[in-house]
């Protein structure tokens, strides 16, 4: 259509407003990593308040200053509102600005077109728009820290009426969310069309790498689950800006004032339904791409085909579908009767079955292998038991009777963090180490990689394992100071331990940061396929040029043809026929 070439585009078109899926993928990944670090920093500050309630925050308190932290005669402390704002923004940043953009925007964009042998995404300019919508959403969220009253402080779940009567930060949060949702919708349309329409010749659906399947199902979840939250966001904006009462019942009395200028007639439960209709599938948006990455890394480093590829695919599709039917298990304590609670307990138990199957497939894939303990493999292997713990601890929360005691306690926090932090985040680290050579043509340092892995693995368990016990003791989440309550004070010792683990964990990330930047410029140069992998991305040069493949690849076999008996090499790339 036009005559200019990728390599003579001006800088800002090539690296900033680029339409190349690889550049966009890297933009997503770098931005998301920064947000992950920010989200982690927020919680590190909160952990000081939790471990040493009311005591001045050393060093960092002074750096932040007012109005983010409150002043005391001797220094600075978090305020109740500040704590809630940090908590709400920790959740929002980690999920919507960190993990999902990294897993879907970053890896999806960079890897998916390469893995299916496409020259780019189906809609390159839409892809760029998607990144910039995400970026703007992030900027709006960050700015909200500086508006009067601070950032949104009604939890990442933003339950009304609390969120309806909250300060301006909540409005910013809603605007930010609308931008992020737009970004996700544009991205998911792009992924689905690309996967369905632009696969290389010979790449049938059952020859797709599992990662592509995971991304495809994820995209459907984003496409169909996000709009109800967008609707809910619009309604909450109306409540906040136009004075409507979608989520406000009649007769509210706030701080002793009768709210008789409100029409009332709304329902707080409505928000919860619309919110969790998105937010449960969102959990699978967080976990499926991670499973995809882990499957790729495991197949590559066991040097053998994945066990039960088709079960994996079918389980993933089933998981995706079921994830729409379990949302109200987050609402067992809202006063749910027998019929509905039985339905949602049953669907929750059912959804655990495909998860068990996926985990089983991945672990049985180790049998008869020749395991290379590379850095990506270490992270992928650590993912398995961590995800198992996260999944298992979901059981007591999915049954109403045991949920009575555990609902909204630290047990819940431990549960989903095991799924998302040592689970998904470890898988994402595996992905960074694994595909780094493809993006830069250089490998990340092995020693620093291991120095990143081992302390992270130890301290992340130090953070989340005690939470099960703290939660069991009855300590509720979102408490500014748990020692205010008798049962909370009893386990304050564990909370101090969690905090120290968290601070050690953040220190453990420095080897990664150093490694990342050092390797971009100084890392060991490697050839196009350093891991001797089979999937298509490795048959393109590293880094791949604009348009990816010199000639469109033709696929001749399945995705994981490793260690075929009687062959000289222990792997057979997808675009090489098995017989050859």
């Amino acid at each position: 259509m036009s005559h200019d070439h990728g390599h003579d585009l001006p800088f800002w078109r090539k690296y900033i407003f680029s339409v190349d899926h690889k550049v966009i993928g890297i933009q997503y990944a770098v931005t998301a990593l920064l947000f992950l670090f920010l989200g982690f920093s927020l919680i590190s500050i909160m952990r000081y308040q939790l471990a040493y309630p009311g005591r001045d925050i050393p060093v960092i308190g002074k750096l932040l200053g007012e109005p983010i932290v409150g002043k005391t005669p001797t220094g600075y402390v978090l305020t109740g509102d500040g704590y809630n704002a940090f908590g709400a923004m920790h959740g929002t940043i980690m999920i919507f600005l960190g993990v999902v953009p990294l897993a879907v925007g970053g890896f999806g964009n960079f890897v998916l077109p390469l893995q299916i042998g496409a020259p780019d995404m189906a809609f390159p300019r839409l892809n760029m728009a998607s990144y910039w919508a995400y970026f703007s959403g992030g900027v709006v969220m960050l700015t909200s820290f500086f508006v009067p009253g601070g950032a949104a402080n009604s939890g990442w779940t933003s339950y009304p009426p609390l969120s309806d009567i909250a300060t301006t930060g909540q409005t910013m949060w809603l605007f930010g969310m609308v931008l992020l949702i737009t970004s996700s919708l544009l991205g998911s349309v792009n992924f689905i069309v690309t996967t369905v329409q632009m696969r290389a010749k010979g790449l049938s659906f059952f020859r797709l790498p599992f990662f592509v399947w995971a991304q495809l199902v994820t995209s459907f979840l984003l496409l169909l689950a996000f709009p109800p939250l967008e609707a809910a966001g619009v309604l909450q904006l109306m409540d906040r800006l136009a004075g409507t009462s979608f989520f406000l019942p009649s007769g509210l009395v706030v701080s002793g004032q009768v709210q008789n200028q409100l029409s009332g007639g709304g329902s707080p439960l409505l928000w919860q339904h619309l919110f969790w209709f998105l937010a449960h599938p969102e959990v699978y948006v967080l976990i499926l791409p991670a499973l995809g990455i882990v499957a790729e890394v495991i197949a590559n480093n066991t040097r053998k085909p994945l066990w039960g590829y088709k079960s994996l695919v079918y389980s993933t599709i089933f998981l995706g579908f079921m994830s729409f039917l379990v949302w109200a298990h987050h609402m067992f304590m809202t006063g749910m009767g027998q019929t509905l609670s039985t339905f949602f307990q049953a669907t929750t138990m059912i959804i655990s079955v495909p998860s068990v199957i996926i985990l089983t497939c991945l672990v049985i894939s180790l049998w008869g292998a020749s395991i290379r303990f590379t850095v990506p493999m270490l992270f992928a292997l650590a993912f398995l038991p961590m995800f198992a713990i996260g999944g298992l601890t979901g059981l007591p929360l999915g049954l109403t009777t045991s949920d009575i005691q555990l609902h909204d306690t630290y047990y819940v926090i431990g549960h989903f963090h095991y799924v998302v932090a040592p689970g998904t985040l470890f898988a994402l680290f595996a992905g960074v180490y694994y595909w780094f050579p493809k993006a830069t043509g250089r490998k990340m340092n092995d020693f620093l990689g291991k120095l990143h892995f081992w302390p992270s693995f130890i301290f992340i368990n130090g953070v989340f394992m005690p939470m099960f016990f703290i939660g069991m003791a009855g300590v509720l989440r979102r408490q500014f100071d748990q020692t205010e309550q008798l049962h909370g004070a009893a386990v304050q010792g564990l909370t101090v331990m969690v905090s120290w683990s968290a601070w050690m964990l953040i220190i453990s990330q420095f080897p990664f940061i150093i490694n990342f930047f050092w390797s971009i410029f100084r890392g060991e140069k490697v050839e196009a396929n350093p891991w001797q992998a089979t999937t298509l991305e490795w048959s393109a040069p590293s880094p791949p040029p604009h348009g990816n493949f010199a000639t469109p690849p033709v696929v001749a076999c399945g995705p994981y043809e490793y260690s075929i008996p009687g062959k000289e090499k222990d792997f057979c790339p997808q675009n090489v026929a098995l017989e050859a």
Binding site: V253, V258, S267, W327, G335, G337
Partner: protein, 108 residues
């Protein structure tokens, strides 16, 4: 790719017929509303007419009638999810056993 003009003429005729039907149905649904039927009947008739109109638009203007299965699967999924979104909250809202609607602190 290019359709014959004869075929297109047929298409055009269909568009005009659909336009006529939609206009007639619009007038019909408004006139029914002025009959003040019982609420259940009124809702049923209004929604029925709206559905017919909607299907006409989707089938002929959006050419859904000649599309392949893929789109139907996706739209079917949407419909199913919409029904879930309607049914489940309504069940929690109207749990008859124990929850009642109250106006603020009012009660005895």
């Amino acid at each position: 790719m290019a359709s014959s003009s004869h075929e297109m003429d047929k298409h055009l005729k269909v568009y005009y017929i659909v336009f006529g039907c939609l206009a007639v149905l619009t007038v019909l649904t408004v006139s029914v509303a002025y009959l003040h039927l019982p609420i259940v009947a009124a809702v049923a008739v209004a929604l029925l007419i709206a559905c017919v109109k909607g299907s006409l638009v989707a089938s002929f203007f959006m050419h859904l009638i000649s599309e392949r299965r893929l789109i139907f699967v996706i739209l079917g999924l949407c419909l199913f999810l919409f029904l879930m979104l309607l049914l489940v909250p309504s069940l929690t809202f109207f749990e008859p056993h124990y929850s009642t609607f109250v106006n603020g602190v009012s009660g005895r």
